[in-house]
């Protein structure tokens, strides 16, 4: 039986009987059907990628990117506790928009509700032209800003927790905070979370005072 050049699908020979035409077409169709079976499936937004070096070996895959997992308002609380964080991502990004603290207080977060010396961090804070550096290897939280904003001033904080699902190692945390109002300042903190090396499943954004405004959004990153 002759076959096609590229995929080797069986085709009828010139000398085959016309009465065998239906079977020959069925054989050819089934060959094509089998070859392209991996194009079936997938969901909206997924892309087709090669699964191996083998011809026609494809798989449907969600493209890398950032997915919003949930958002909450900070207003009127001293802490926002976000639980049941999906473990389907590699990194976690938490963004806090326009945080305002009524009265004076610290502004930071904790993972898995743990506070006892589970954090190590090194912070550099710039206020005007003054640079302050602080650090601790046994802190009780990851501080985003040692003196939290007391008025809406285009403040913004971003936290990135790398490899947050691992249960075999500490988690690397990077955060930055900027307040574009009175007493312009920026705080950049590098830190780690030990917490018995457990995967991070919850995050608590807190202040030692009361939040007068702001919101928090949690994103998963693949």
């Amino acid at each position: 039986m002759p076959t096609t050049t590229n995929f080797g699908w069986t085709t009828p020979a010139d000398t085959d009987l016309v009465s065998q035409g239906a079977a020959a077409m069925r054989t050819l169709g089934n060959g094509v059907d089998t070859s392209f079976v991996k194009l079936k499936g997938g969901t909206t937004g997924q892309t087709l990628v090669k699964n191996s070096d083998t011809d026609l070996d494809f798989t449907w895959s969600s493209p890398p990117g950032t997915t919003l997992l949930g958002s909450a308002s900070l207003t009127g609380t001293s802490s926002v506790n976000i639980t049941s964080i999906s473990q389907s991502y590699t990194d976690l990004i938490v963004r806090v928009y326009l945080p305002v603290v009524s009265g004076a207080g610290v502004f930071g977060f904790r993972l898995n509700g743990l506070s006892t010396s589970n954090y190590a961090n090194l912070s550099q804070q710039v206020s005007g032209t003054t640079i302050t550096q602080t650090g601790s290897s046994s802190a009780t939280s990851h501080v985003l800003c040692a003196t939290a904003p007391t008025a809406a001033a285009s403040g913004y904080a971003e936290i990135r927790i790398a490899d947050y699902t691992t249960s075999s190692n500490v988690k690397l945390i990077q955060s930055s905070y900027v307040n574009n109002g009175t007493g312009i300042h920026t705080t950049i903190t590098q830190g780690t979370f030990r917490g018995s090396n457990a995967a991070a499943t919850s995050i608590t954004i807190y202040t030692s005072s009361i939040f007068g405004g702001g919101s928090v959004s949690v994103y998963g990153v693949k």
């Binding site: 909450a72 900070l74 802490s79 049941s84 610290v106 807190y206 030692s208």
Partner: protein
């Protein structure tokens, strides 16, 4: 110094169920909050009483 601090509220968001609720701090959370207040006051004595 900490005896007059009103027990604040916590906003809970469960990402699995989507449930949201506002509730008073429980005893452990309140104890931690008081510790945070005390730590802040110790680090910023000029702002105590504001």
């Amino acid at each position: 110094m900490t005896t007059s601090i009103e027990r604040p509220e916590v906003f809970e968001l469960d990402l699995m169920t989507g449930d949201k609720k506002l509730r008073p701090m429980n005893d452990d959370e309140y104890e931690q909050h008081l510790a945070d207040v005390a730590d802040y006051a110790a680090a910023n004595p000029d702002q105590v009483g504001e």
